[in-house]
Symmetry: C2
Subunit: 112 residues, 2 copies
């Protein structure tokens, strides 16, 4: 009904996008996880071994969060002992190159 552009709504939308971005990359372990899934699917135990410093609880919690955000997906094979694979979603693969470029920020500030 109203064709005016409301700058407040624009601001709110940019804020939401920024928040979503931070949701995805912030958290001590999220980028480590995503980097490990960049090239191939990984089993839960594999991720544990690849990132040994993260606690089991936090790893699972972060995998869940990233799954809910739609960045990664989980595939359970019905086997015992269980087998579960995590991999990037389509959207996850879409942003993966940007995630890789992120570290160029840190590089600039090393030892400075």
């Amino acid at each position: 009904m109203n064709e005016q552009i409301n700058p407040q709504i624009q601001a709110d939308s940019r804020q939401l996008i920024l928040k979503k971005t931070l949701d995805i990359i912030c958290g001590k372990w999220r980028l480590y996880i995503l980097y490990q899934l960049g090239t191939e699917p990984r089993r839960y135990g594999e991720l544990r071994r690849l990132i040994p410093e993260v606690s089991e609880k936090v790893l699972i919690q972060e995998l869940k969060a990233l799954t809910n955000l739609g960045v990664i997906e989980k595939k359970s094979y019905n086997e015992v002992p269980p087998r579960v694979e995590y991999s990037l979603t389509q959207k996850g693969r879409q942003v993966y190159p940007t995630l890789l470029k992120l570290t160029s920020i840190g590089e600039v500030f090393m030892d400075a």
Copy 2:
């Protein structure tokens, strides 16, 4: 003395770079602050008005942290009432384009 490449040292260095990256961009308000400083220096009070949701304590704390990281710098004019300006450093300007591109990550996952 030892010309071998130690993959552990490489891994540690990548880890440090990643940690530095997260130091710079994580924190609820850091990117908001950096975005406001992208185009021009801003006074402390100006930043308060531009980002009214952040508490005074946290704003100052974040400005200090970003200053210590070498992303921004602070210029105090000897006046009363005080006048203080914050701006991006050379290195800060160097990474600013990357900081702007960051939000493309969030865009992909909006309402997904």
